[in-house]
């Protein structure tokens, strides 16, 4: 099987399985709370239901409001297409594609923020401002992660074109096992980024109904029907993107099928871990969130320094 076909099979699998991740998180949380919980496939049912529905659009909203969900879904799917999804490099990979990936995600966030502000609701304005702040803080941390990996690769004498497909494809674990233990700290950083970027506890509470405390959820309050389905699906795919980056640090180079299975396994395991974190931890007060991101940033900077001094 040629690698392009393999990649598209993995890509398709990722798109199909993405809504399963929130389902797993919800099941874990339900078990901790002693509840039976929603069905594992609830998000699939919700998406099907929403696509069949009509949409209500505020009379004060403009085309920006409707464009937001479409842009955020498109950008996040494009970002996913740049990632190695389990042993096969992306056919779209090119030198420095991680910058494109980061800003595709940033563009999706920008579109969501604009759509939220377009409604003129004070709640959504508040949510947009929080999302913009935390997004801006999280971005340099992500780049510090990328830089640390690249720095490790150059210090190990690799002279490849550095792309996501190279850095997140078994490289990290390999380098770690070859005397670069500092890279293990990156999994911690990536784990925090995963929680921050996907608005999970302790940063945001995806299940709350309290508008004043929400970050991401409050921005999409006015969306309904297919556009809400786009948003829900986009956030599931975004979760998959970050889980894949996380898995990319932990999964070694293996035969393609084994690496694929292991990557997907790590992604689902990450979902379980997120569920456990959400079940055993309270949210942080909002003004402490920047400190958490700052913590992950300093760890990432520490890793970068360690890789440079060698």
């Amino acid at each position: 099987m040629d690698s392009g076909l393999q990649y598209f099979l993995q890509f398709g699998a990722a798109l199909v399985l993405a809504p399963l991740v929130p389902g797993i998180i919800n099941r874990v949380k339900a078990k901790f709370g002693g509840r039976h919980g929603k069905p594992l496939l609830q998000l699939y049912f919700d998406l099907a239901k929403l696509f069949a529905k009509g949409e209500v659009i505020s009379t004060t909203a403009t085309w920006i409001f409707s464009a937001g969900p479409v842009i955020s879904l498109t950008t996040v799917v494009m970002a996913l297409a740049l990632l190695p999804l389990g042993g096969v490099p992306s056919p779209f990979a090119f030198r420095g594609d991680f910058i494109l990936c980061a800003y595709l995600l940033g563009m999706g966030r920008f579109a969501t923020v604009l759509a939220a502000m377009d409604t003129g609701s004070p709640f959504e304005g508040m949510g947009a401002s929080r999302e913009a702040l935390f997004g801006a803080l999280a971005e340099p941390v992500l780049f510090l992660c990328f830089l640390s990996l690249i720095s490790t690769a150059t210090s190990m004498g690799m002279k490849a074109d550095f792309s996501l497909s190279m850095l997140f494809n078994g490289f990290a674990l390999d380098a770690w096992l070859h005397g670069r233990p500092e890279l293990v700290l990156l999994t911690f950083v990536m784990g925090i980024l995963l929680l921050v970027e996907n608005c999970r506890i302790p940063v945001d509470d995806p299940t709350t109904h309290l508008e004043l405390t929400m970050i991401h959820e409050v921005m999409v309050l006015d969306h309904s029907g297919p556009n809400l389905a786009f948003i829900l699906y986009a956030s599931a795919v975004k979760l998959w993107v970050f889980c894949s980056l996380f898995a990319g640090l932990l999964v070694p180079v293996l035969p393609v099928w084994a690496q694929t299975v292991l990557t997907f396994g790590v992604i689902f395991a990450a979902a379980v871990i997120i569920g456990v974190i959400e079940s055993t931890m309270a949210r942080l007060r909002m003004h402490i969130v920047p400190a958490l991101i700052g913590l992950s940033g300093s760890v990432a900077a520490f890793v970068l320094i360690l890789t440079l001094v060698r």
Binding site: M126, P202, T207, L212, T280, R283, L284, M286
Partner: protein, 495 residues
């Protein structure tokens, strides 16, 4: 001055000039007395109302009732005695008596004024407004995201910081006080039990006490014990639910989910007593309607122990989780001074170090309560309010178990005394520690033995302003958590 359990003749409370009433309120409040109620009774023929103030000294268990000559306007006492602020607004709204110089005279509820036509609805009132380029205003409600009661909250924010929160209620106004004085007696109790649906037993106890004190009825010992059991079960159920809700708002799932279930267990105990999970139709003037036989008592004890063990464990999990404590500590502080000035009551007051608890200050009966304690904390933050609730759970469970034991070994006897008709021209006051705080009912009978006035002061009436103060300089994202830690009643306030 008189003992709080007796009714006094209307004639023993002479009309004094308003200056004297004003001076007494200010004096007494400075000396540690509490303003329990302050209201007007419109006077026939004249345009105005006589004002009645009920003051209480918890240390000596004595009450003072003052009555003024009819007035149309008077100098406000709010500036000297801030805890009167909402009472004066209410008097202005209900009787058209103008407290001159009141700092913020606006409607309390939607009420048609006694004098000049109709006032606007609650949300159309004036609000504090802060201006500036970076100041923004957030309005929440009266329709909320959750299934809760309606109320309008207006935040003046600078970024995420709340500079001022103004709470406007009144959407639930049903005219309860007016209905009580006009409905036939048999229809009043169901109404009283719905003043605040979560305090059905508390309000029913207060109403029944008013009737008993006015008529001089002594209720049987068995009924006293059953009433206390019901009141403490109500406290257990509501504290359990509040603790779960606090867990839920911090995003701490396990306690939130578990307490939701355990609340039902406590409610079901009340249901075993009288068939209603909220204790409706349990009390009646003169005693209680339902008895508990020894077998029922023993089964209740068993279930109470299980439910208490569960809730203790569930709450301990929350209170031992560092992230929850970090979230609760220092959030929504109310200082001791503010709490005293505003006359906060109940859990919110005890969390600020005010050791007031009507179960000790104004006991309903001569029953001893060795297992109950006044639980206070000093910090006045969300954590303090959580801890007070958590400690009160222990007390209430222990006392209820002891009461059930005692009941099961007592000989069966009468559970209700006969209540004669209401006497003419008397005043009685009932003070009951509901689970939120002190409930005050004041009953005034007219010359025919009907109600001249019936006044209800729910703890929420005192405490809503405390919530507004707790939010000063806090983050707007902390509002829901602060709100839950107070968990005040909208309909108890709106009446």
């Amino acid at each position: 001055m008189f003992s709080y359990r007796s009714a006094i003749d209307h004639a023993d409370v002479p009309n004094v000039p308003i200056e004297a009433l004003r001076g007494t309120i200010i004096d007494y409040c400075r000396n540690g007395w509490d303003l329990m109620a302050f209201f007007g009774i419109p006077v026939d023929g004249e345009n105005g109302a006589e004002l009645i103030a009920v003051l209480g000294d918890p240390d000596t268990h004595t009450l003072e009732i003052l009555r003024s000559l009819p007035v149309r306007r008077y100098p406000s006492v709010t500036k000297e005695c801030p805890e009167a602020h909402l009472f004066e607004r209410e008097i202005f709204e209900q009787c058209g008596v103008h407290p001159q110089g009141h700092p913020w005279l606006k409607p309390v509820r939607f009420c048609r004024s006694a004098g000049d036509g109709q006032r606007p609805g609650p949300a159309q009132a004036n609000y504090f407004h802060i201006e500036g380029n970076e100041v923004h205003e957030v309005g929440v409600g009266p329709i909320h995201a959750g299934v809760i009661e309606p109320g309008h909250f207006r935040f003046q924010c600078y970024g995420e910081n709340v500079m001022h929160l103004e709470i406007q209620l009144g959407f639930q106004h049903r005219g309860v006080e007016h209905l009580i004085s006009t409905l036939p007696p048999h229809a009043v109790l169901p109404l009283v039990e719905n003043i605040a649906g979560d305090s059905a037993i508390g309000h029913a106890t207060a109403y029944c006490s008013i009737i008993e004190r006015l008529t001089g009825t002594d209720i049987p010992l068995r009924a006293q014990i059953l009433r206390r059991i019901a009141l403490e079960l109500e406290r257990l159920a509501n504290h359990t639910r509040d603790l779960g809700a606090i867990g839920g708002d911090t995003g701490f799932l396990p306690t939130s989910a578990w307490n939701g279930r355990i609340t039902g267990d406590f409610l079901n105990l009340t249901s075993e007593l009288c068939g209603s999970r909220f204790g409706r139709n349990l009390l009646c003037p003169g005693g209680v309607k339902w008895d508990a036989d020894p077998a029922l008592c023993q089964s209740l004890i068993k279930r109470l122990r299980t439910a208490y063990r569960d809730v203790r464990g569930s709450v301990n999990v929350m209170l031992e989780t560092p992230s929850v404590l970090a979230r609760l500590t220092g959030t929504g502080c109310v200082s001791h001074e503010t709490a005293v000035d505003l006359g906060l009551v109940g859990v919110a007051a005890r969390a600020c170090g005010i050791d007031r608890d009507a179960r000790f200050d104004w006991p309903l009966s001569d029953l001893e309560s060795p297992l109950l304690h006044v639980r206070t904390e000093m910090e006045g933050d969300v954590r303090a309010r959580t801890l007070v609730r958590s400690l009160e759970l222990d007390d209430s469970a222990a006392q209820t178990e002891a009461d059930l034991q005692r009941l099961s070994y007592m000989e069966e006897s009468k559970i209700a005394a006969d209540v004669p008709n209401l006497p003419a021209g008397k005043i009685a006051v009932a003070l009951v520690e509901g689970w939120r705080g002190i409930l005050c009912h004041v009953g005034v009978t007219d010359d025919d033995g009907g109600w001249l006035a019936y006044k209800i002061v729910d703890p929420s009436f005192h405490n809503w302003m405390g919530l507004a103060m707790a939010l000063r300089n806090e983050q707007i994202s902390d509002f829901p958590l602060c709100n839950k830690s107070f968990n005040l009643s909208y309909c108890g306030h709106d009446l």
